[in-house]
Structure formats: C-alpha cells, structure tokens
C-alpha cells in the first residue's frame, strides 16, 4: 500500500511540469522541432569564440 501511494505521488510530481508549462505551448510546437533545435545549434557554432 505504501509503495502504491509513493508511486502515485511520484507520477503526480512528475506530471506537474506538464500542468505548469504545457498550456502556453504554441500550436506549431511539435516534437520534431527538437532535432531542428540541435541542427540549428550546430549552425550557430560559427559565432563561438575560438583560440
């Protein structure tokens, strides 16, 4: 019983971030934009300082 309660509490805590932050996601936001962010981050590398 204790383990079950702990698990429910953990799920609730974990999903809290969705409650707090997902409401104002833009309609156009989709998972594939994560890869786009990585590729774009690489493209911006030229701005880095170098020795």
């Amino acid at each position: 019983m204790e383990e079950s309660r702990a698990q429910q509490a953990e799920v609730a805590a974990l999903l809290g971030v969705i409650e707090r932050m997902a409401a104002d996601l833009a309609l156009a936001e989709e998972p594939s934009r994560f890869i786009a962010a990585l590729e774009a981050g690489r493209a911006a590398e030229g701005e880095a300082s170098s020795p």
Binding site: E2, E3, A6, Q7, Q8, E10, V11, L14, L15, G16, V17, I18, M21, A22, L25, A26, E29, E30, P31, S32, R33, F34, I35, A36, A37, L38, E39, A40, G41, R42, A44, E45, E47, A48, S49, S50, P51
Partner: protein, 467 residues
C-alpha cells in the same frame, strides 16, 4: 600493456613492438585474475577474442591494417547486439535482445581493428544509476569494492578503470555513461543525440538514448568517437552532420574559450569535496587561458522532469512484455519504474515531447550565446556504499536513484554533448569528476577542453590498487 592507452597500444602494435595476441592474452589474464571480484563482465569471449587477435596478427604480417584500432582489446555493454554472443541487457534472460543486424557502433570499432573481449555488466535494462545487478552480481568499484560503480554502464567503467579492457562502449539515457565514468575515475562521453547510431542497441528510450565511448583519457575517447560517429542508414535518428577530425582539434588549447560555471541547480546539495574539486578544475581551466565565469541557466529541473516523463513512457512501452509476462524475473526497483511508466497518459508524454523542443531551443540559444562550454559536477557525491543502492523500501531506492542522476539527466533531455572527466579523490579515496557540456554536435570543443585539463593534471594516471 593493459595500462597503456588505446592510442599508445595501437601505435605500439603498428610499430611491431607488441602483437594483438599478446595484448589480448594480457587482458584475458587480468580478467581471469580480477573479474571474479569486480564483476565487470557478463560474458567473456576468450576463444573469439583470441581468434580475432590471431587473424589480425596474420593481417599485420602481410602489412594489412584494419584501421586505427588494429589489435586493441575493447569490450561492449551487454545491450549491444553482436551475432554469436548473447545479449542479456542485464536481465535474467541470456538472450533478451536480438537485433536484425550487429550493433553499428560495435561493428565500426571491430571493422577498425578492435578485438572484442566480451559483453559488460550493466544495471538491469539500463534502468538505474548505481550499477547494482542482482542477476549477474553487483559490479564493484575498483577504488573501493564495497561502493557502487555508478550505472547503468557499470561494467564498462569497471573494465576500463581496472585495466581489463582499454576502452568500452556505454549508453546514456539519463547519465549512464557519465555516472559510472565519474564514480570509477575514467572518462566517458555522451555525444550529441544523433551523433552515434543506436542501431543494434537495446532501446530504453529512443528519444533519450545515446551511445558513447568510455576510456581512461579524453584523447582515447576522441579516437573511439572518431570511429563510431556519423550517419547510419539503420538508425533514422542518426545525424548526417559531418564528423570532424577530433584528434586534430586536441592540443589547440583553451585560450579565449568562454567557460560557464552554473550558479543555479548544479551545486545545490552537492558534497563539499565534490564541489571543491569541480571548482578547482574550473580554476585549472582558467589558468590555461579560458575565460571562466558563473552563469545562470534556464531551470534544469524542468528539462530533467520532461526527460523523465519521456524516458519512463518509452521504457515501459518497449519492455512491457517482460513486465507483464515475467514480472517475477525483474528486480523490484526496475519493476516499480516500469510500472510507473505505464501510468503516464499519452497526453502528458506528447506534451513532454513538445515542451522538450521548446526548452532545448531556449537553452541552446540563451546559454551558448554566453559560453562555449559548461563545467558542472556529474554525481552529487562520491560513489556511495553498495547498500545505498540495494537496501531499503522500493520507493526510497527509486528516490535515491533520482537524486544520484539529477545532474546528468538534463543534458539527455537537451541532447547536448557531455564529457565526464576525473578531477580528484575524496578523503575516502573515491573518484571525483566534472562534466563539460557543449553546443550540439560540438564534441570537438568539449574534448579539446577535457584534453587540455588532462594535459595539465595527472588524475587520469592514478590506478586503483588491485594487484
């Protein structure tokens, strides 16, 4: 010979000073002598390793060279599928994972001349940061055998730290390369998401899984990454970004590089000896000419939670059959984590994936406009005693796991390259470490800074007293 670097041994073999068979025999002898206690390996392929070494030696005599690893003994985490060898993934089932093709990363290392010694111990299903495994025996930290190795790539770190293999492959979904590397005093690189193919590797979370090298020096990790990096048609998520010459960029120094030390999150609740060692490492890097300053990061806990939701959902989906058909075969903590993943609604999983995209974009834009790399602790404390991972109620063990991996997980969610580098020892003689985190696909810079640090210090030359 087992104390040599990958690069040093490869050079010596090429020069004819030692042979692949001699190198392999020495590793196998050391495994035979020490691994009964250390439990780095799940399976040692003695006959296969010697056969490969003999074949390579024959090719050497004919002047034929496979590549930069010709004759170097390596070992692979037991979730890399290699035909002819069982792949337990740390479960009770010897052949838990069967892929259509050999693990691309391992196959590329073998094609470059590596001698595969066998398959390495790991946390069951790669779910857990401490390195304990009731099925195959808990891997033991070579520096203090009563302490955790870190996980889930426990055997990879132990084999390298104890000089049973010169290098290894690990995987990292929430810290599983960097945590054991840090706990065992070796170097471990989680490359950018997509940099190294995941084909032929047991998935835990296709959105957060990374394959990467583990070795005793940054230079060796660069050499191994060079071999395994790059697009693989068998893994749709592998990137077509060009692979630079990593070794060529080492030695360029760090003068002028901007290095950020997080002022939020990463030092909260961290053991004083760990904090002091990481800050001292940042001072060493500053002394080499880098500009080191504090930086406030977008809340890493948010990304950590998002990463957790995604990993739990995907891990439970992938391994649900084991959970439903043979739950009694799964260790209680792993079972609890799998069960939890099944309670996450599709709505939350999908929102987490959408949030991840936004958070990654914001983090990369904001942070890397100010710095070139970040320096932060990897583990919040030196490797804890094994009992910390194995004794107590399940919910408490799960909570301990979350605390131990909280400093690595954000960078899985962000997909950024992160390199764990040893930077000292605690008063109890356990390794301390920091991680260097860079821009997407900029492994070059994190390797360059890590190598410069190792050139200026000697922590990576220390060895545990095992003989």
């Amino acid at each position: 010979m087992t104390d040599w670097t990958v690069e040093g041994l490869a050079t010596a073999i090429r020069a004819g000073k030692v042979s692949p068979v001699e190198a392999t025999q020495e590793c196998l002898a050391r495994i035979g002598r020490l691994d009964g206690d250390l439990r780095a390996f799940i399976s040692v392929d003695e006959a296969g390793a010697l056969e490969t070494a003999r074949r390579l030696e024959g090719e050497q005599r004919r002047g034929a060279w496979r590549g930069p690893l010709h004759g170097v003994p390596l070992a692979f985490k037991d979730l890399c599928f290699i035909r002819g060898l069982p792949t337990s993934c740390g479960t009770k089932t010897a052949e838990y994972f069967i892929a259509e093709r050999d693990c691309t990363a391992a196959a590329r290392l073998i094609a470059a001349g590596a001698v595969p010694l066998g398959k390495l111990n790991m946390t069951e299903l790669a779910m857990g940061p401490f390195g304990d495994n009731a099925h195959h025996g808990h891997a033991r930290n070579p520096w203090r055998t009563g302490h955790c190795t870190g996980g889930s790539s426990s055997g990879s770190a132990v084999a390298v730290a104890a000089q049973l293999a010169l290098g290894a492959l690990g995987t990292d979904t929430g810290g599983s390369i960097r945590l054991p590397a840090a706990a065992c005093g070796i170097v471990g690189l989680k490359p950018t998401y997509g940099r190294v193919s995941r084909a032929g590797v047991m998935p835990l979370s296709w959105s957060n899984d990374h394959v990467g090298p583990m070795a005793r020096t940054v230079r060796d990790c660069a050499l191994l990454l060079q071999v395994v990096a790059g697009r693989d048609p068998l893994d749709a998520t592998s990137s077509a970004q060009p692979v630079p010459d990593y070794l060529a960029s080492l030695g360029a120094g760090v003068a002028g590089l901007r290095v950020g030390v997080p002022e939020n999150f990463f030092f909260q609740g961290v053991h004083p000896e760990m904090e002091a060692a990481v800050r001292k490492a940042a001072e060493v890097i500053a002394g080499l000419g880098a500009q080191v300053f504090e930086i406030r990061l977008p809340d890493p806990q948010t990304m950590s939670d998002v990463c957790n939701i995604v990993s739990r959902s995907e891990g439970s989906t992938i391994h649900v059959r084991l959970l439903r058909e043979r739950p009694h075969e799964v260790q209680p903590v792993v079972r609890a984590r799998l069960e939890l993943g099944l309670q996450i609604p599709a709505y939350d999983y999908l929102q987490a994936l959408r949030l991840r995209a936004r958070l990654a974009r914001a983090f990369i834009t904001e942070v890397f406009a100010q710095v070139d790399v970040l320096v932060a602790p990897v583990i919040p404390e030196p490797a804890p005693p094994l009992a910390h991972a194995t004794e107590g109620p399940v919910h408490e063990l799960v909570a301990r796991q979350g605390r131990f991996s909280r400093l690595t997980r954000p960078f899985n969610g962000l997909g950024l390259p992160a390199l764990s580098v040893p930077c000292g020892f605690s008063s109890a003689g356990l390794p301390l470490a920091f991680q260097l985190v860079g821009r997407p696909f900029d492994e070059e810079t994190v390797l360059r800074v890590g190598d410069a640090y190792q050139q200026a210090t000697d922590w990576h030359t220390r060895r545990p007293a095992l003989d």
